[in-house]
C-alpha cells in the first residue's frame, strides 16, 4: 500500500502563486522517527481524502525549539523560534495543524510573544472539525465494539485543557471507549515530556512508561490510543516490556481514523 501521497510544500505552492488554507507542521519526530512517520502518513491520507488544501514546509521546517526550552536552553529555543517565525511569516501562514502536542503547545503559546501569531490546532481538533463539517465521513465497521483506551498527552490535556477533541473523534468509531482511572486532568504522564525522551531516567524503582502502561492494561484494552509521537514511543515500549504486543496495539488517533476509512 504505498500509494502516492499528495504533499505540497509551501515553496511549490508559492511558485504557483497559491496559498494553502492550513500548514501541516510535521515536527521532528513526525519527520524522522520511524513509528511517528506512520502517523504523519496516516494524517496526510486523511487530509488528502478530505481534500484539504494544505502544505508542509518540508526541508524549510526546523525544530520548534520546544524540547530545548523544556531542558532549560532558552537561547536555543528562541533562536529556533525566531528562524521558524521568519519563515512562517514570510509565507503568511495563518493556520497551523500538527500531530505533536509539544509543537502545538509551543507554536500556540510560546511563539506569539516572539512575533509568531497563528491559529494553531492539534490534529485531533482538526479531524474533529473535518468530521463536523462533513468533509470527512466516518464509516463505522472496522473498530465496532473494539476496546479502546485513550492516553491523554500532557501537552494536549493538562497543558492546554483539550480533553474532548480526541474523545469526540474516537467516539465516531463506534468502539467501546474505556477510561483509565487516571485520565483527563489527572492522567499520568507517559514519561517522555520535559526532555526526558532524550535522556535516561534518574534513579528510581520503575520506568514511568511502565507505570502508565499498567494503568492502560487495567482497562483490558485491545487498542491503546495516543495522540502524540512521544507518547506513542513510550506506550509502545511499555506494552513490549509487559509482553502484550500480540494482544494490544498502540495507535495514534490519526491512524485509527485513517484505518476506519480504509486508507
Amino acid at each position: 500500500m504505498s500509494e502516492q501521497l499528495n504533499v505540497p510544500t509551501m515553496e511549490e505552492l508559492m511558485a504557483q502563486g497559491k496559498q494553502p488554507d492550513i500548514l501541516f507542521w510535521v515536527g521532528s519526530a513526525g519527520s524522522y522517527d520511524d513509528r511517528a512517520k506512520k502517523i504523519t502518513r496516516a494524517f496526510v491520507k486523511i487530509l488528502n481524502k478530505a481534500n484539504v488544501n494544505f502544505a508542509v514546509l518540508g526541508t524549510e521546517e526546523t525544530c520548534t525549539g520546544d524540547v530545548a526550552k523544556r531542558a532549560g536552553n532558552e537561547f536555543l529555543f528562541q533562536m529556533q523560534a525566531m528562524m521558524n517565525i521568519e519563515v512562517l511569516n514570510a509565507y503568511e501562514v495563518k493556520r497551523i495543524v500538527t500531530c505533536d502536542p509539544h509543537s502545538f503547545n509551543c507554536l500556540k503559546n510560546e511563539y506569539p510573544s516572539l512575533g509568531g501569531n497563528y491559529d494553531v490546532l492539534h490534529h485531533t481538533q482538526f479531524i474533529k472539525e473535518l468530521i463536523e463539517s462533513k468533509k470527512l465521513e466516518i464509516k463505522d465497521g472496522v473498530f465496532n465494539g473494539k476496546r479502546i483506551t485513550f492516553h491523554d498527552p500532557c501537552y494536549l490535556g493538562r497543558a492546554n485543557s483539550e480533553y474532548d477533541a480526541p474523545r469526540d473523534v474516537l467516539a465516531t468509531l463506534n468502539a467501546n471507549l474505556l477510561e483509565m482511572k487516571r485520565s483527563k486532568s489527572t492522567a499520568l504522564c507517559c514519561g517522555a515530556g520535559g526532555a526526558q525522551m532524550f535522556k535516561d531516567a534518574e534513579k528510581g524503582d520503575k520506568e514511568i512508561n511502565e507505570l502508565r502502561t499498567e494503568d492502560a492494561l487495567k482497562t483490558n484494552p485491545e487498542i491503546i490510543a495516543t495522540a502524540c509521537p512521544y507518547c506513542m514511543t513510550m506506550m509502545s515500549d511499555g506494552v513490549k516490556v509487559k509482553e502484550k504486543e500480540s494482544e494490544i496495539t498502540v495507535l495514534d488517533i490519526a491512524e485509527l481514523i485513517a484505518q476506519s476509512q480504509g486508507l
Binding site: V67, G72, F75, A195, K199, G204
Partner: protein, 438 residues
C-alpha cells in the same frame, strides 16, 4: 484593682497582635526579595479564581473525603471566629457576653448554638484528620520530606484545634447564666452534667479559665502561623489571586534572551556597538535561578503558601516511580531557604551577607531538577494554585545557560538541534523523506 483583668487582657492582646504584625512585615519583605513580575492583568479573572479556589475550596473537594472534612474545618473556623469578636469586647471592657445585651436572646442563642454545632463538627473532623495522618498513615504524609518539623507541625495544628474547640464548649458548659437561658447551648448542655455537683465558685473558676486559655490560645495560634504550613489559611487568598492564568503548558519567554537573540540574528547589528541609551544601567542578567532571590516573588509567595498536603507529590510521575523529585519538597526547600536568607538579612542589619549557600545544590539537587517531565500534574493537583514546575524550569535554565551543566544526552540533543534542526542527528535535507517511504 477591678480593672486589672481588663489591663492584662489589653496587654496580652496588644502583644499577640503586635508580634504577629512584626512577622507579617517580615513575610512581605522576604517575598519581595523575589524578582518582579507583572501580574496586574486580568483582574476579574483573578478575583474569580480567588473566590472559586480559595473561598470556594473548589480544588479541595476533588478528593472527596479530605475535601469535605477540610470544608467543615474551614467553615467552622471562619464562623466560630465571629465569637472572638465578643471575647475581645468582653475582655477589654469587662463585660460578660456583650452579645446578650445587644441582641435578642433568641438571636444570640441561635448564633452561639451554630458555633457550638460547628465546634463539635470541627472537633470530630480534626480527630479524623489525626487518624488519617497517624493511624491510617496515608502515604503522602509519610514521604521523606515529611519527617521532623513538618510532621510535628501537621499534628500540632490538629492538637491546637482540638484544644480550642474543647475550651469553647467547656466555657459555655460551665457558664451557669448561659446554661440558665437554655438558648444556644445545643451541645454544651450535654457537657454541663459532667460538671454538675461542683460548687458555683469552682464552676465560675473553670469558666473563667477556659475563657482566658481560649483567647490566649487563639493569639498563640495566630502567632504560630508564621512558623507553620498553616500560613495557608491567610496566603491561600493572595496566592490563588496571583496564580498562573496562561495555559499550563506555556512557559514564559525570557526577555533578556530575546534581546540577545534578536541582536545575533540581525545581520545589520554591530556586535561591538555601544548599548543603546536606556540600556546603560542594565546589569547583565543572570539566566534562570540558583537561589531564592532569582525566583519571581510569586514563586516565593507560593513557597509560603504551601500547606505540605502532598497532593502534588502523590500525582508526580517521577515521584511515583521512586525518583528523588517531589514537587512538595521543592516548595518546602524554597521556603526554608527563603527563611534562612531572611534571618541572614535580619542578623546583618538589613543586608544579605553571602553565606556560601544557595537553594540549588544545598537544598535542591540537580538530580531532582532533571527528573521532571514537565507534565503539570503537580500544578493541576495543588489546591491553592502553587506552581512547582516554574521553579524547576528556572533552575534548569540556570544549570544549562549559566553552568552548561545539562546531562550529556541532553547536550547531544541540543547540539543536534543547533546543527541540523532536529533533536536527532538526521540531515535537514531528509525532512520530507517520509512522504515517499512506504
Amino acid at each position: 484593682m477591678t480593672y486589672l483583668p481588663n489591663i492584662v487582657f489589653a496587654i496580652i492582646l496588644f502583644c499577640g497582635i503586635g508580634y504577629f504584625a512584626k512577622n507579617v512585615k517580615k513575610l512581605f519583605r522576604n517575598i519581595n526579595l523575589g524578582q518582579d513580575v507583572d501580574v496586574s492583568d486580568n483582574k476579574p479573572e483573578r478575583w474569580k479564581n480567588m473566590a472559586r479556589i480559595a473561598l470556594g475550596q473548589s480544588k479541595m473537594v476533588r478528593r472527596p473525603v479530605s475535601g469535605f472534612l477540610h470544608v467543615v474545618v474551614y467553615v467552622g473556623f471562619v464562623i466560630i471566629n465571629i465569637e472572638v469578636l465578643e471575647i475581645i469586647i468582653d475582655g477589654l471592657f469587662g463585660t460578660h457576653r456583650i452579645g446578650l445585651s445587644v441582641l435578642p436572646t433568641s438571636v444570640y442563642g441561635f448564633l452561639i448554638g451554630t458555633f457550638e454545632v460547628l465546634a463539635c463538627l470541627v472537633f470530630v473532623s480534626v480527630i479524623v484528620f489525626w487518624i488519617r495522618r497517624n493511624v491510617i498513615k496515608i502515604q503522602r504524609f509519610w514521604k521523606s520530606e515529611m519527617t521532623s518539623w513538618p510532621k510535628s507541625d501537621g499534628n500540632i495544628i490538629l492538637y491546637f484545634e482540638m484544644v480550642l474547640m474543647s475550651l469553647f464548649l467547656i466555657m459555655n458548659a460551665t457558664d451557669l447564666h448561659f446554661q440558665g437561658l437554655n438558648s444556644g447551648n445545643v451541645i454544651s448542655q450535654y457537657i454541663a452534667p459532667m460538671f454538675s455537683g461542683l460548687p458555683e465558685t469552682t464552676l465560675h473558676f473553670i469558666e473563667r479559665s477556659a475563657w482566658w486559655i481560649h483567647i490566649v490560645g487563639i493569639l498563640i495560634f495566630l502567632n504560630y502561623l508564621y512558623f507553620s504550613k498553616h500560613l495557608h489559611i491567610l496566603l491561600a487568598f493572595p496566592n490563588t489571586f496571583y496564580g498562573k492564568l496562561t495555559p499550563k503548558g506555556q512557559f514564559n519567554n525570557l526577555e533578556s534572551v530575546t534581546n540577545e537573540v534578536k541582536l545575533m540574528m540581525d545581520p545589520n547589528a554591530d556586535p561591538f556597538a555601544a548599548p543603546a541609551e536606556g540600556d546603560v544601567d542594565e546589569v547583565p542578567a543572570k539566566f534562570g535561578a540558583s537561589d531564592v532571590q532569582d525566583l519571581s516573588w510569586v514563586s516565593l509567595l507560593n513557597a509560603y503558601t504551601c500547606t505540605e498536603c502532598g497532593r502534588c507529590t502523590s500525582e508526580c510521575p517521577a515521584n511515583l516511580t521512586g525518583k528523588k523529585l517531589s514537587p512538595r519538597k521543592i516548595m518546602m526547600d524554597t521556603r526554608d531557604r527563603l527563611e534562612e536568607v531572611g534571618k541572614n538579612i535580619d542578623a546583618n542589619n538589613g543586608e544579605f551577607k553571602d553565606d556560601g549557600k544557595q537553594l540549588l545544590g544545598d537544598y535542591i539537587t540537580n538530580e531532582e531538577i532533571w527528573a521532571c517531565t514537565s507534565c503539570n500534574a503537580c500544578v493541576e493537583a495543588c489546591p491553592v494554585s502553587i506552581d512547582p514546575l516554574s521553579i524547576i524550569i528556572e533552575m534548569r535554565r540556570y544549570l544549562v545557560m549559566e553552568q552548561s551543566a545539562a546531562p550529556t544526552e541532553l547536550n547531544n540533543m541540543m547540539t543536534n538541534i543547533e546543527n541540523n534542526g532536529a533533536p536527532w542527528p538526521y540531515n535537514q535535507m531528509d525532512r520530507l523523506n517520509w512522504k515517499d517511504e512506504k
